[in-house]
């Protein structure tokens, strides 16, 4: 990592640490990437070589495994001229580049995740703070409450505040695979959705709202450990 200190101001760093579940090391990602452009070229070469294995670049150049991950990964997605700290905080990265991150590439919910965390008016790009929010919710120390809240929003494909039959059917298709031979048959899908609603729709209105969803999630001890993205 070298002796370079963080270019993110201390106050900003402390604020991010207080408001998210991330540690300092996970936030300060890119310091020597921003300060040392010659390492950027090496990383780009390394990245093209390691694309298919998805090996994170951090392990090549960074001796302290947890330092400055988030900012580094974010800065990698920006074009060269926007990699100064001030600009990186304001820049909006389009979805295609976020979806190319190795941690999200193989996830069937990646578009929904990006859409849920985006605060831009057109909801098609992520800023650095949105990215931090994403990492915070998916981190180790986030509470199951906030994880279940965001999981609900991710599964709510039509953004109407409840999971109706259409949402559930799209969710099951994401889980089983979108291909024709991997989907469940229509009768199996109908039966499955009926069973799900029977089990979780407590007030019998045909949809699952947030409280009912959180009630189901609380019965599964594995949810918090599986709803994690490790950077």
């Amino acid at each position: 990592m070298g002796g370079s200190g963080s270019r993110l101001s201390k106050e900003l760093l402390a604020e991010y640490q207080d408001l998210t579940f991330l540690t300092k090391q996970e936030i300060l990602f890119s310091v020597h990437v921003v300060l040392a452009p010659h390492l950027v070229d090496n990383e780009q070469q390394a990245r093209s070589g390691n694309e298919h294995t998805g090996k994170p670049i951090a392990e090549n150049t960074d001796s302290s495994p947890l330092s400055t991950r988030a900012h580094r990964r974010f800065c990698e997605l920006l074009p060269q001229e926007q990699r100064s700290v001030e600009q990186s905080l304001l820049a909006q990265v389009p979805f295609e580049q976020i979806l190319s991150l190795p941690e999200l590439k193989a996830n069937p919910f990646k578009e929904r995740i990006c859409r849920v965390f985006s605060t831009s008016p057109t909801r098609d790009s992520l800023s650095f703070e949105d990215f931090l929010d994403l990492l915070s919710v998916f981190s180790d120390t986030a509470t199951p409450d906030i994880k279940s809240h965001y999981a609900f929003r991710i599964f709510d494909f039509d953004d109407d505040g409840t999971l109706n039959r259409e949402d559930l059917s799209r969710l099951v298709n994401c889980l089983t695979g979108e291909g024709e031979d991997t989907r469940l048959s229509a009768s199996e899908m109908k039966q499955l959705i009926d069973n799900i609603l029977e089990e979780s729709d407590i007030d019998r209105d045909g949809t699952i709202n947030l409280s009912e969803f959180q009630h189901v999630i609380s019965r599964s001890p594995d949810f918090a450990s599986s709803f994690k993205i490790v950077l």
Partner: protein, 762 residues
Amino acid sequence: MAQPLAFILDVPETPGDQGQEPSPYDESEVHDSFHQLIQEQSQWAAQEGLELQQREQEATGSGQQTLRRPEGTQSTATLRILASMPSRTIGRSRGAIISQYYSRTVQLRRRSSRPLLGDFVLSARPSLRLYDLELDPTAREEEEKQSLLVKELQSLAVAQRDHMLRGMPLSLAEKRSLREKSRTPRGKWRGQQGSGGVCSCCGRLRYACVLALHSLGLALLSGLQALTPWRYALKRIGGQFGSSVLSYFLFLKTLLAFNALLQLLLVACIVGPQVAFPPALPGPAPICTGLELLTGAGCFTHTVMFYGHYSNATLNQPCGSPLDGSQCTPRAGGLPYNMPLAYLYTVGAGFFITCITLVYSMAHSFGESYRVGSTSGVHAITVFCSWDYKVTQKRASRLQQDNIRTRLKELLAEWQLRQSPRSVCGRLRQAAALGLAWLLCLGTALGCAVAIHVFSEFLIQSPEAAGQEAALLVLPLVVGLLNLGAPYLCVAAHGNIIWNLILKLAILGTLCYHWLGRRVAVLQDQCWEDFVGQELYRFLVMDFVLMLLDTLFGELVWRIISEKKLKRRRKPEFDIARNVLELIYGQTLTCAPFPLGFLLSPQTSLLANCQAPRRPWLASHMSTIFLTLLCFPAFLGAAIFLCYAVWQVKPSKHLCPFRNLTAMYGPQGVGRIPGGRRPQVSWLPWVHLRGGGGGGPCCCEQRSARTWLPSQSPFDEGEDKIFLINKLHSIYERKEREERSRVGTTEETAAPPTLLTDERDD
């Protein structure tokens, strides 16, 4: 309803509604109680559609209400009202989130002080109370809600406030603004206090100390995190194989850390002093051939590896009282060190620490991983909770999708089976088949144990085998091969953790009988403790060698066969159950730190040759199961074995710390101190028993499985909801029909009065 209740429905008006007669849900028209509204509607409903409703209810066969029409075909006005319901807005709108967290903050603040009775809104229904709808008729804007939340946050302590903010599902920018707003009065307060000299100095000093401690803590944490070199390896395993296999490796890591700790204790208290004061050897040292690495005998016998080497006297004793013929070679300024006592106490302390740690972590893990009601609702839980977000590779992701699809189909098939009533004969047949399969598998396990017993008896009795050193390797080889091959014999039990456990227990039980029961009797002229230690060493080494061979060649060969012969490109699955049991078996044999080879071998085999298991292994349940297996059969068995050896078996006459005593422990044993004083060591075994026995229930009481009970019963709420939705729908249907009839009447002004009468009768 006893009291009138003003209830505001915050529904945006549509352009179509303006200019018409006020609809029933307008503010001025809303009656003070629902009672009147429902009375009106129920009169109309009684005239019109009551028979229809009753017929529908009979058709569904339940007394519950159903929605008269599915949501998609309801009128847009109804849909708009439904969209504004609190249960739906909480999932998507920021204002609703803010008001929910406002009420939570209020509850948090009120929890510290006893709430006044007058604060409770007795007439509000529980679901409304949760959303903190005031009786004040003015509707709240989002800014008002935010200012309320800010006010509440200001009254909390800083740490609580940060904790609250961190847990809110809002974006970072909004959290920052809330934090800024709730911070201002503190600055003002500090400004006002600026004049008070000493107070502000103390305050500033305390604040500076807190900041320094905070940053020190963060620096320590970052330092600790930097010391974890295995983080990337674990991430790769999790990304490729999922959480279930990852949990096996986390278990491995925990075992390693624990073993390192115990090793430190042993080295410090036993090995170190013995190495510093080596005893005189009885005869010339044997020459080292290569076979010692496998047998543990030969030139390894008189080293610190084995128990027989340790002195039975007090080391470094002052020359005043010569005892047991030990040599008098004190070092200047040295302290006397009674080796047998040290041995007993160190091993005892190690066992005690292990016991407490195991019981505590088992209870903790149990509390974390088992929830009440987790067996019901499998469909919903599988669909909502089964996707593992750690998986980062495309192939692993596809495999996970296949697994989930298979699991869902299995669940549906099981559900179908449960729906169709099965005859008693069918159930009996199924139970009989299951019983037979289990009998066969148990028979296999017992057969293995009997085979080992017969073979060991043969070894004891055959004279030619007793002389050769290489012959000592035969029993470990046989046992190792049985361990490896038996799971393949009983194919139905492949992957079955219980069967593997029974097999291992049977084998270990037979071996313990063989050592303590038979070998002690046979070996009169040798140190039997040394022999048992060497046997354990041989078993470990043989197990390790066979596992390496299996890893390198067995799985590789299997993969080649399956790819070429069976034309399948699937790798064999990583059998978590068997690997965990191998680990625990190895740990039990040593009761001490065991070689790293056990750790590296599974990982290399995994990454090269295996794929993730098909059956869903719940990661959190698994860590509980591993800990339970480590605690109950393994640790308890080893403890019982050692206790029996210490109390009942006569120590041998030669070269051992407890030689020439009737028992290792007890009034004739180590409890005797020269001079006849009886030390207070009799509490030692009772501490062990109490610690193990008492700690378990104690921890389990504290960490009972968590339950989640809703704060109010929502079942009646559902009925109310459907009732209201149906009433709303009938109101709008009525409105539309009146609208149409009014249009019809204005068009046909010359219509005969009979028609009007007909309309009005509706």
